[in-house]
Symmetry: C2
Subunit: 436 residues, 2 copies
């Protein structure tokens, strides 16, 4: 190997913070009150510049673990052989498209490649508008789908509600813990799904019909909510009755994350018209995809050609193929199911021990632990949730917080998380809950 071209010495945190602010500006944010200065990772472990080790319970992007050797090898081999684009024939992108399509049910057999989840959702919306001739969109309140101009508008978590465009209606996500309909009521799925019908009427009053209903299969930015039984079936039914397409955003819920199926929507038994994928499919390398039916792909192609310089390049495709190999070889789905079942039951047990833990939801290796000050009024414990997060960070365990009230501790580790990793997380989480 040649002499390293990239320095391996690390700046001090304070110096790096100052230089970062100056060179990257004030729009970027860092995690944690004391940001973590990372230098190395492997599997579920991250290491900082001072030699401290952290259990990563947050990063879904490193889906099969940080720096998985098979992914690194595939990337290295291909980067040293050829990296070009899809205007030449290359085997990897076709092999990858076929293997990816084979993981999906129904007619979902055509893959188009992009580089980010934002690009995937942007392309899905363009396809839906082109194919349906409609302009409208229905999303969840407090959703996050990415950061292009249009996808920012769809990301109701970030976009100013007062400036919400005319074509868009956001509906209440199913939250049986603090939403309009609560645990114990009958037909929760149907009741929450009725909001989609209201949204269709709202759009109609503005002269719009839905081009698409776009939804995560686990409501990540709403605090790891899962859909009640029958919810997606009933929403899809109403959207399709207007000619709209149903788009499943699998950036968060896909690739075994929820433990029972490869893709999150499979938990509900629905089959979307378009599936968008991002973060985890390249184990950290920029790779994302839109998968749809031959009929939709063909209709779209009547109006638009499609090309994305980096999307589906041989190196990215090699990384994607390696991730699929690892998923099979290491029985990742089974691991997510087994460790997830253990972790989920132990987290739910915390709700009995700690008054602060109002609700635990999620599945597989994706959980939200909602912190409340009062179980009757559901007064959110935002500061307490932050306190838990910061305690964990100080004690070598990385988690995040999320939700519209920012009071949900988010647990979403690399999927090679083991039972003993879960035990360490649980033990430290108990200490954190004792401390706040």
């Amino acid at each position: 190997m040649n002499q390293p071209v990239v320095s391996d010495t690390f700046a001090t945190d304070s110096e790096l913070l100052r230089r970062r602010e100056s060179a990257m500006g004030p729009a970027y944010r860092l995690f944690y009150e004391k940001p973590v200065h990372l230098v190395r990772g492997e599997g579920v472990w991250l290491h900082d510049s001072e030699g401290r080790k952290y259990l990563d319970c947050y990063n879904n992007v490193a889906s099969v673990g940080h720096c998985h050797p098979n992914v690194v090898d595939a990337l290295t081999r291909q980067a040293s052989t050829l990296n070009t684009h899809t205007r030449y024939l290359h085997d990897h992108v076709v092999n990858y498209a076929e293997r990816l399509a084979a993981t999906l049910p129904g007619d979902l057999s055509v893959c188009m490649f992009v580089c980010t989840g934002s690009e995937a959702n942007d392309l899905a919306f363009r396809m839906a508008r082109t194919v349906t001739g409609n302009q409208g969109a229905i999303v969840m309140e407090n959703a996050y789908h990415g950061n292009s101009i249009v996808v920012t508008e769809l990301s109701t978590e970030e976009y100013p509600a007062a400036e919400r465009p005319d074509y868009l209606v956001a509906i209440e996500p199913p939250n049986p813990y603090r939403g309009s309909y609560r645990h114990g009521e009958p037909a929760l799925g149907a009741k929450y799904a009725a909001f989609a019908g209201d949204a269709i009427e709202d759009l109609a009053e503005r002269g719009h019909q839905p081009a698409m209903f776009l939804c995560d299969s686990i409501f990540d930015s709403n605090g790891a909510l899962t859909a009640p039984k029958g919810y997606f079936h009933k929403v899809y039914e109403q959207v399709r009755a207007t000619g709209g397409l149903c788009v499943a955003d699998e950036v968060q819920s896909g690739l075994c994350r929820l433990g029972d199926h490869m893709w999150g929507f499979e938990d509900s038994g629905v089959i979307p018209d378009i599936v968008t994928m991002g973060k985890p499919i390249g184990d950290g390398h920029p790779l994302a995809a839109v998968v749809t039916t031959p009929a939709i792909a063909e209709e779209f192609s009547r109006k638009f050609r499609y090309f994305n310089t980096f999307g589906g390049n041989p190196v990215s495709a090699a990384a994607g193929l390696a991730v699929l190999d690892v998923i099979e070889r290491e029985k990742i789905l089974q691991n997510v199911h087994d460790v997830g079942t253990f972790l989920g039951s132990k987290l739910k047990a915390l709700a009995e021990k700690y008054e602060l833990v109002g609700d635990v939801r999620g599945k597989g290796l994706f959980y939200g632990v909602e912190i409340v000050r009062d179980r009757a009024t559901l007064e959110p414990g935002e500061a307490e949730a932050q306190g838990v997060r910061e305690f964990l960070r100080e004690n070598g365990v990385l988690v995040g917080t999320t939700g519209p009230l920012n009071n949900v501790v988010k647990i979403r580790p690399p999927m090679v998380f083991s039972k003993s990793n879960a035990e360490l997380l649980l033990e430290t989480l108990e200490q954190a809950l004792d401390s706040v």
Copy 2:
């Protein structure tokens, strides 16, 4: 190294074509009547699955050459060490931002990272709209800026003119060969720049003011046109007088491509408010950036936070740093200048020898050779240009065709192109011109 996870056997062309159509759908296009099935690349050379070798005179993405060993090493080292995102502190992204900013003049010192040129232009427009409060945009006719929903609208080459949105005006690019004002007329720059003034008036009649003027520094999809003297100065002056920002799209013209400066706009002596970068900066790996002034970055951050999961990740930043190292170490700018000067003069000489060659323009390592059937009427030789392209492909030299009339042979090789590479191209190009 572990057992390879990605197969190195190649399908036959006909089988791969069939499977590709099925797995990736009909919206994708391939280059050449007989597509090239690539398997390996190094420097300026590409190899197909049957062992044939091609001189690459087209791919700017592999900016410092296919599979440059320093870039591959940097990528490999970092991919096996850590790949994460900008919500943790990491040295590489800050080092890269600083080094990138140091290549730019004026106040252009804040870098925000994305993965593709599309994302860069999309973010630039969002910044321009947010900061100016205006909604309008002025672009060139037949421009290409990328493929998000909004950037597709800005890409007048692809987007149906009849559906052009209200906020957008496209102006005639300066083409002294066949445009409204021709070679020999005085004050070409001022005359073409006056179209920007008309565009501002058009927008005003629709109730819009320009948020931005977005323009390549070499008019790639218009057939490698360069701006006449004074053009950008006068356009910028008019746009800025309305409060609009000037955005230089350097995806095509940047990173030494034009031979005299690191960035294409420097040829005109202007300083943009925002610079967008893509394809070449990662030597093929998904890396792109928006660079702006501290004032614009700060104003934008008052309304929006910014995060892009893969944008500016440690592996991409390592690739970007390695490319900047190679540019310095291998004196790439000097090479582009020297080989480009030689190639340009020889191409221009072809216009004297071949009636078919109506115009040769461009600079550095970016040329357009416009093919015409009649030098008086300028009747475009589209079939002849395709014939030249296909002849070259059959004889081991890869070029493209471009321009609104699709009659311009586009020459834009990796920047490690040597004088002897240029001689081989010229020799084969003469054979091609003799053959059509």
